[in-house]
Subunit: 294 residues, 4 copies
């Protein structure tokens, strides 16, 4: 028999796939606030009442955990279910894992002797998720333009996880890729990856040459001063989390085509995104002491 | 001054871009039945009457030339304009180029001393166009599935131009690509391209493993006998020209997700598709004797 | 029990690996004129006298079959063994396969009711062998220069099998690859493969820019008229079979660094080269009638 | 006129190329202890006496600076030239840059008001140099085996700079690449790069499958306990700096083919390696205050 039992509370299609995948691996899986979703496997037990969470070793909260008003993020359930209520039922012997866990929830659980780990803060989760974002961004770029991607001048802003993977994928499709970064070491990496590095400070003179601009920088690097150099026929896609990279107001005034693309892994590849949550959660459990799991 | 003047009659956005691009190169370009399109450059002369075709060296008909009922293929013009009428105005000294030129039109033109060349039959046109089809098919595949393309088992049927380019692009995105072909030499090429070759006759036992099936074979290779082995969650995309590769009726009965994807270069990359027509037409003109062009 | 028994006569290390690989697959394999080689598997029967060839279904001659003086090409055996002698022992019921089989040997065998098939003329053999040549040429190129291959301007002459595979491998290593060809369709393929096409006729003005020039054209395309434009620091590698692509005398006069690289698959990857012979021979046998094999 | 003058003291061919490249950019360059090398440009001034170092803004010492006995690392000069002597001539207004600068030299220079910067410690230098090492390692791997690299099982130990770049290059040549790492985040990166990750602790059961093993780990990970699982026909290449990854004694006892490959950038690509020193030094100077440069 498998070592852990899981209680999956809320979330979008990624969490349906997560429940199915854990059940297919032979774990006992209970799902709460997911029964409205299509595609939940028959091997997953349905729970109607979150007080049952206490019967599992591991309670999994979605990404993000809450709806910003303190309730469980549960698009497949019409009820408003306070996160605090779920936590109030847990006891020592259960582990709580979640994505972007609010501080008060973390504190409340820990007070009850329930360890809390945020999978969103794990590096391996971030890397693998970045991969899905990069793939989806490639699909968006292919759709956005009326030309071949081959030899097309494309600009990627930022060389973090997404920027790095996105640069490599676009190059693999034979785009003519420039990646903007600030540090000499990133510029060296970009060159070693076969792409053209550019310092952010020199973008002004070059940005007009690009047909597609994909930004991953979580700061308004594309402000009015720089947007005014962008080609009118270009497409700008903002992949950075809110508030994003673009001054959208300025872009509109200038007649530029700019769009926000958020939550791509959940939209383009929910099944793989669910697998990634699963792997990260299993890594977390592997690292925990025997003590924590009753 | 440039050597040739062009008369572009009808066609979709590709031909708008063709007209713009020739004009930008400095050629005298007249457009007929394209004035309804957005984006036609101000450098292109508008012709309201096809009798003016005779004043240009080169008359370019679209791809395909006709609407299957003998009229010019002209989606941006509401009139019905018989192809025969256009040809009846031409005289020796003009060259007619077109895509999939109907036999009777070819004969009629040649009787008038007007040489006719079909750019659709040119190998370089086919290769470059196949590249656009392959790119668009990659975009369709990325959209069609709810998983990462990386390591995904993908099947490409056929190793002609599109199959070969598509296999390489999917591999570049790290898909786990199998390509089906019949000849030993194609199977050897597939392996040398880094993908897994499979003989068509052995597909039955393997086809159930693939999540995405992209067919380029212009014959019903995906009939009921083989479709019954396909995974219910798979997506089948038919890239082959009519009648295509799939027995759609059987696919529907079996509850399979199958779709036809035709005319992809014109839909996904009309600008590059227009460039490809341009380059092919210029190659054709380069090869012609001085004699033919008045 | 396996259907065929093999008699492998002569050849270099490729044929040692061929014998080992067929024996490992469970075939009865006898080797002649190979016992001097290191590494022959204990599962291979040693034959001291070529009259024993008649006891096997399939006699495999090496590539090339002869030493240009009518004897078996057998670098591991000091004797001179006339090919004609081996053939004079064969009878109907045995099949003879060889690489570059001399016409008189073919005739002699066929007169005895022994079908002869030349694996060197098979397209799948040529393609897979070209792959090994391309790989070895990449290794030579990496060694030949004192700079990084990344972004280095490299010229490949010819877009046959080797040229095409070599262009793709160099591009995969991020070289800046130009491929020269004559036909528009090849130029279109080169572009679709992501490299820069150039017509042979325009080489003069560009050839001075390349650091490495790899030629696959079996005709003296690099004559004095064009060699004089080559950079003095460049390296020219001639991969074409004799007489090759380069006027070596002119190259020497001009002080250019030029070298011939022949027989690369046998030198760099004899094991895989042996596998390729095996697969081709098995394909040949698969295609033959039952009749031919006793 | 260019802002800086350079005094290049000692070093191998990389430093000859460095001197030439700086001179070609228009800088005043003086070379010391390099006049024995072939290929030094006529634009470089020759200095016979290191006391002249003080007349330049920037003194560049080689990589490594010394011969481990306190003398300048100068393979092209037969003299023994104490590093301390060179430093004793410098004064405020000159900057000293070097690779792996010994502590006492650094102290001595700083006491004289001469700032010392070690380019070997710069991340951008390390990244770009790793790229050259990876390229050279690919060439070594191609040479080392008697099989095609395509689909060959290759193991890379470590996912630092070299491991990461090497994994990607081998994959680009279609090898079947596994990369060993310890951290979950590295394992996630390896997967996102399209290769197979393996934890070091699980190597024992798998290492026997690989034909080529390339190690980048500067610790004896390949000890007797693990070497005994390696295939007898495999090749092990140690890219890690001394003492390296391999217990060579144990490897010899086991009859394994293992070799050390050190200083690859200087051996395979000295010209590019010199360019990398140049770019790093120019980056260092860009970052320095006006004050430091007289």
């Amino acid at each position: 028999m498998k070592k852990y039992s899981f209680y999956i509370a809320g979330g979008d299609m990624r969490f349906v796939y997560l429940a199915n995948s854990l059940a297919a691996d032979g774990y006992t899986v209970t799902a709460f606030a997911l029964s409205g979703a299509e595609g939940l496997s028959g091997d997953v037990i349905i729970s109607g009442d979150s007080s049952e969470a206490a019967f599992s070793n591991v309670v999994v909260l979605p990404l993000p955990c809450d709806d910003r008003r303190g309730n469980l993020n549960a698009p497949f359930d019409k009820r408003e279910i306070p996160l605090a209520e779920i936590v109030s039922r847990l006891e020592h012997g259960t582990v709580l894992v979640g994505g972007m866990v609010p501080k008060n929830i973390k504190n409340a659980a820990e007070k009850r002797g329930v360890p809390v780990i945020d999978y969103f803060e794990r590096e391996e989760f971030a890397v693998r998720n970045a991969s899905l974002t990069a793939e989806a961004a490639v699909a968006l770029a292919l759709e956005a333009v009326n030309e071949s991607i081959s030899k097309m001048p494309v600009l990627v802003l930022g060389h973090g996880r997404i920027g790095r993977l996105l640069g490599s994928m676009l190059k693999a499709l034979d785009a003519d890729v420039t990646v903007a970064a600030r540090r000499y070491s990133d510029l060296a990496w970009i060159r070693s990856e076969g792409n053209t590095p550019i310092e952010f400070s020199r973008l002004g003179g070059k940005i007009g040459e690009f047909k597609v601009i994909l930004s991953t920088v979580p700061a308004t690097v594309l402000n009015k001063d720089i947007l005014c150099f962008v080609d009118k026929g270009a497409v700008i896609i903002d992949l950075a989390s809110m508030p994003g990279s673009i001054d959208f107001e300025a872009a509109e005034e200038l007649g530029l085509r700019a769009e926000r693309a958020l939550g791509l892994p959940g939209k383009f590849a929910p099944k793989t995104a669910g697998e990634i949550v699963k792997e990260t959660v299993l890594n977390i459990l592997d690292e925990m002491g025997e003590d924590d799991l009753g």
